[in-house]
Structures are given as structure tokens and as C-alpha cells.
């Protein structure tokens, strides 16, 4: 039985989708490699960083003699104006970057899916109310929310995460609502309802299962965009405190010396780029696999 399961299970689930895309699309493999590098950094970063305390933002004792060194064998990414090793800071920062984006995307995804599916399933006032609430939040820019939260709650990780969740979840609510609108009209949903299956079970077994895959793919693409947005908030100094090991903060630290020590901003910036690129490549190729109509006619070099 298990053998036949493995053979015939070539279907529509999310994992199967990923497997098929992996075989077919080089872009997915490149994207997955980039994401893999960042995840690897996040896991091992603090342990392999050559100067761990620099990484956490502590100013070294011999700061004066180490400050502002360009990339060299001892400091491959150079040092910043306070003599901290940029490589160590970037390595330690990877973990925080991933924590931020997974927190934001998973919470907004769960919230958005639930709201969207409920809005489509319970028609009438519930639908109107939930959609209205989602639209109100859709109108809020993350930066403005972050600014307000910063004034009310002070600095910290919670500002970045909360403001991004508040402005991201309505997108998932919106798209899952649209997919769910079609699914709730399917015969199997009506038949299950008439058979007396409780609403909660119908929602999860029939509606949510059919709505989730395209929204999940969207969420993977969004991981990159969320990193960009989070870095922007941190760069502007609204989110994390000035010496936190976050790529946006490091870019901001180097920004004042952009002419004399460009490497301080360049390297963390490059990692932001790589991560965002990796996630959007993965998400893009998964989306193509999900919906061949969206396949592009032109090709990138990979």
C-alpha cells in the first residue's frame, strides 16, 4: 500500500507542487540555493563569526586602531567606524532577519487566511464586516504604523513585527477571500453542509485546503518583500535600536560614512538583496508551476 501511495501521490498538495517545480525550473533551484545560504548563515552565524562580540554590537577595546579598515584578510568585509568587524555583524544579523520575516509572514498568513475564508463562507453581514476591516487595514502603510507604535511603545523588535503584521495580513485576507469565493460555491461544500458536517470542519477540510496553496505561494514571495520593508523601518531607526545586529541598522550605521567607508553599508545591503531575490525567485517559480497561464514568455539568464 505504501509503495502505491508513493507512486500515485503526484498530486496537488503544496509539497508535490514544490517537487514538480524543482525538477522543471532552474530559477527555483537558484532561489532555493540563495535562501539556503541565508538560512545556513542564520543557524551557524553567531558560532562561526570571527569576532562574536563585534557581531552583537559591542565596541571592541582597541576600537581606535581597528576603525574604518577596508576589506582585508583579517576583516573580509572591513570594519565600521567603531572598529567592529562587518562580517561578524552581518553573520549575526542573518538570524534576526529571518526571525522578523517568518514571524510577520506566518502570523499575517494565518490571520489573513482565517479572515478571508470566514468572510467567503459566512455570507452577509459577517462578509461585509470582515472585508471592511481588511480594507481599513489595507489603507495603512507599514511605515506610518511603525512610527505611531514607536511613539507609543518605544524601540524594539515588536515595533517592526507588529507594524508589518498590521499592514500585511489584509493582503492575504483579500486573496484568500477571492479564492474562497469560488470554492464555497463548489458542490462538495454544499453537500458537506447539507450532510450536517459542522461549519468548522467544512471550513478547514474543504475550503481552507483548497484555498491555501496559491496564498502560500504568495506568502513565500512576500518573505522577500517583508525583509525589504523591515529593513527600511530599521534603517530609518523606527524599529530596532541603533546597535542591534540587524542588516537595516548596519546599513544605517554605515550610511554616514558612505563615501569614506562604503563597505560598511554595502555588504549588509547585498545580503538584503540576496535574501529578497532568493525568496522571490522561489515564490515566482512556484507560482508559475501553480498557474501555467502566468508563465512568462521571456526567460532570465537562468
Amino acid at each position: 500500500m505504501n509503495a502505491s501511495r508513493a507512486r500515485f501521490n503526484s498530486a496537488v498538495g503544496f509539497l508535490d507542487l514544490a517537487r514538480r517545480a524543482w525538477k522543471r525550473s532552474a530559477r527555483l533551484r537558484v532561489g532555493a540555493f540563495l535562501v539556503g545560504v541565508v538560512v545556513f548563515m542564520a543557524v551557524l552565524g553567531p558560532h562561526v563569526a570571527p569576532h562574536p562580540s563585534d557581531g552583537w554590537g559591542v565596541v571592541p577595546r582597541n576600537a581606535a586602531e581597528r576603525a574604518g579598515k577596508p576589506p582585508c584578510p583579517e576583516f573580509p568585509f572591513g570594519t565600521d567606524n567603531l572598529g567592529r568587524d562587518v562580517l561578524s555583524r552581518v553573520l549575526v544579523g542573518a538570524r534576526l532577519a529571518l526571525v522578523q520575516i517568518t514571524l510577520v509572514v506566518s502570523v499575517s498568513l494565518a490571520l489573513g487566511l482565517l479572515v478571508g475564508v470566514c468572510a467567503a463562507y459566512y455570507k452577509g453581514p459577517v462578509e461585509a464586516l470582515l472585508n471592511y476591516v481588511a480594507e481599513v487595514f489595507l489603507a495603512l502603510p507599514a511605515l506610518v504604523v511603525a512610527l505611531a507604535l514607536r511613539l507609543a511603545l518605544g524601540q524594539g523588535l515588536h515595533i517592526v513585527v507588529a507594524s508589518l503584521i498590521l499592514s500585511w495580513w489584509p493582503w492575504y485576507a483579500r486573496s484568500s477571500y477571492i479564492y474562497a469565493r469560488a470554492v464555497v460555491e463548489m458542490e462538495y461544500v454544499l453537500l458537506a453542509r447539507l450532510a450536517g458536517v459542522p461549519a468548522r470542519t467544512v471550513l478547514f477540510r474543504h475550503v481552507l485546503a483548497n484555498v491555501a496553496p496559491p496564498v502560500l505561494v504568495q506568502a513565500i514571495t512576500d518573505l522577500g518583500s517583508v525583509l525589504l520593508e523591515a529593513s527600511a523601518i530599521n534603517f530609518l531607526g523606527i524599529g530596532l535600536p541603533p546597535d542591534a545586529p540587524d542588516w537595516g541598522v548596519i546599513v544605517q550605521n554605515g550610511f554616514r560614512y558612505i563615501v569614506s567607508m562604503p563597505w560598511v553599508s554595502m555588504f549588509p545591503g547585498a545580503f538584503i538583496l540576496i535574501t529578497a531575490l532568493g525568496f522571490s525567485l522561489v515564490g515566482d517559480s512556484l507560482r508559475e508551476e501553480l498557474d501555467p497561464k502566468m508563465r512568462r514568455r521571456w526567460k532570465l539568464w537562468f
Binding site: 500500500m1 502505491s4 458542490e187 462538495y188 453537500l191 447539507l194 450532510a195
Partner: protein, 316 residues
């Protein structure tokens, strides 16, 4: 005589925004136990709605009038519907397009499990065993089908799986709503033969909805013709097909081509009346070649013209 289904002046309507559309208007008919009963008519004639009413799957926004008994149990009385213990236990349903009626994210085995678990509280293993017997009965290889998702099966296989799923409930009245409409001609015949075989094997009462007169002729013992929500003719299939009484029935029969026989095919001009416009007279008045004066003003009453043979037309 035991009646499987008995409808008395049954009307079914749908609430669309502020409007109420009557899709079925006061039909009365009987289906005997063990009989193969066909309801034919063109699209929008209300035949699918009758099927849903019998199977107990009218959507919540439907409105009913009249009476309907299924398996001796009163399920529709006025606008009250109670299918508890009837739906899935006494009557079961084969959908029009199983592709849209089976959840694409559940394997065929799981579809059986959820249905049987919901009805009888069977465990996954028991449901699988049961699914095996019924899939085999429907002419499928259970090992090759149970672990597949609906989209991996062909239309004919899906329809067989849907029939097996319907039978596995143990209900003896099977309502099949155009089960062959999305299939090729030879598959259509296979499905019909399967239904015929199952009918004698299991002792089913078969209520078959179709717009295909040929299939109806092959399959059924009695036939009911619907037009614009009215039942215009009900009678033994052979007699109705050989010598139709109602002009609409003869129109349906005359427009069926016969392979190898050259004969003029007739199609009557016009379209069925819009359901939202309630005409006063016979619904077929506009297209009828034999219309009389009485037809315009009054709906013809149902007349018994033979043994269990009824027609609603002023000509008789």
C-alpha cells in the same frame, strides 16, 4: 404497491435577491420501488431541481410547496423540509460532474471515509474495505483508484467512483443527475449499462435525469417529460416513445437523429418561456403547432389516458 417517491403538487423555487423564481411548478408523480424512472427535458426545465428535491440537496435558499415523500417518509411539506434519516440512508445521489463535486484535495479513499464516517461512524479502515467492494462493483480496480486524487482519474472513472460512493451509503433509491452529460458516447453507454446492472444486482430504484431521449429509451421503464417546470407527460417509456401524446414530447423525439436512417429532423422554433414571467396558459403555448384557444388562458389539467399514463394537454 410500495412507492419509492411520491410527489404531490410539488413546487420548488429559488430566492434570487428579492425575486422568487419557481423552477418546478406543481408536479405530481410516483416512482415505484425497483423502477427505473427517467425525467427528461431541456435545460432549465426544472428536472435537476426535482432531482435535488428527491435527493435532499436543495440549497438553503430554496423555497418549496406541496408534498414529497421519499421511501414512505414525508420529507417536504409546504416550506418545511426534513431529510434527517432519509438523505444518504434511503436516497443517494450521483452528481452531474463529479469533477466539481469531489474535493480535489482528498484521495478517493478519503472521500469514502468522510462520507461513511459521517453517516455510520466507520473508521478509516472499515471505510476502505467498504470502498473496495463498491469500487469493484462499479467496475474499477480499487488498488489503482483508492489512493488517487480526483484529477488523476478520467471522466468515466470519476463517474464510476461517484456511483460507487453513492452506492456505498447503502441507500436503495439512486438519483442520477445527468451522470453521462460530460462523457463520450461509448463511455455514456458503459455508465448506463453499469447502472442497469447495479439496478438488478442491488435492487435499486433508479431516478435518472437526462436530456437524451435515446438514453432514456434504453434505460428506463417509465419516463416523465418536463417543460418549464411543468410535468407534461408521464408514462411507460415504450408507449411514450412510440406514440407521444404531448406535442412537446413528439418534438423531443423528432429531433433525435437515428443512425443510418434518413428522415427529416424537426425542430420547433422558439425557446422555453422565461421562468420569471408566469404565463397564464399552457407553458408550451408559444411553440405548439396544435394550439387551441383554451391553451392561452388556462394551464391544462393532468389527465389519465392509460394505465399509469398521464398527460397535461388540452388535446386529450
Amino acid at each position: 404497491m410500495v412507492l419509492a417517491v411520491e410527489a404531490k403538487r410539488l413546487s420548488v423555487g429559488y430566492e434570487e435577491l428579492e425575486e422568487l423564481l419557481w423552477a418546478v411548478r406543481g408536479v405530481s408523480f410516483e416512482v415505484r420501488e425497483g423502477e427505473a424512472f427517467c425525467i427528461v427535458g431541456e435545460s432549465g426545465s426544472g428536472k435537476s431541481t426535482v432531482a435535488s428535491a428527491i435527493a435532499g440537496i436543495l440549497p438553503p435558499h430554496a423555497v418549496t410547496e406541496g408534498e414529497l415523500r421519499v421511501g414512505g417518509r414525508l420529507v417536504v411539506k409546504g416550506n418545511e423540509r426534513d431529510y434527517e434519516g432519509v438523505r444518504g440512508h434511503l436516497v443517494t445521489y450521483v452528481p452531474q460532474s463529479p469533477g466539481a463535486s469531489l474535493n480535489p484535495y482528498l484521495e478517493i479513499g478519503d472521500q469514502f471515509y468522510y462520507v461513511l464516517n459521517n453517516l455510520y461512524g466507520l473508521s478509516r479502515k472499515e471505510a476502505r474495505e467498504k470502498a473496495r467492494t463498491y469500487l469493484e462493483m462499479a467496475g474499477l480496480d480499487p488498488g489503482a483508484v483508492l489512493d488517487r486524487y480526483p484529477h488523476e482519474l478520467s471522466g468515466g472513472m470519476l463517474q464510476r467512483a461517484a456511483i460507487a460512493l453513492a452506492l456505498s451509503t447503502g441507500a436503495k433509491i439512486l438519483v442520477a443527475d445527468e451522470p453521462t452529460s460530460s462523457l463520450d458516447a461509448h463511455l455514456r453507454l458503459q455508465i448506463v449499462q453499469l447502472l442497469k446492472r447495479l439496478r438488478s444486482e442491488v435492487g435499486l430504484t433508479l431516478i435518472f435525469i437526462t436530456h437524451d431521449m435515446l438514453l432514456a429509451g434504453v434505460l428506463s421503464e417509465r419516463i416523465a417529460v418536463m417543460y418549464a417546470g411543468h410535468l407534461v407527460e408521464v408514462g411507460p417509456t415504450k408507449e411514450v416513445l412510440r406514440k407521444p401524446l404531448h406535442p412537446y414530447t413528439s418534438m423531443l423525439i423528432e429531433c433525435v437523429p437515428v443512425l443510418g436512417v434518413k428522415r427529416p429532423l424537426k425542430a420547433y422554433a422558439g425557446e422555453p418561456p422565461n421562468l420569471s414571467e408566469a404565463g397564464r396558459g399552457c407553458p408550451f403555448y408559444d411553440r405548439c403547432p396544435f394550439r387551441l384557444e383554451a391553451c392561452a388562458s388556462e394551464i391544462p389539467p393532468v389527465k389519465e389516458v392509460g394505465e399509469s399514463y398521464y398527460v397535461a394537454c388540452w388535446l386529450y
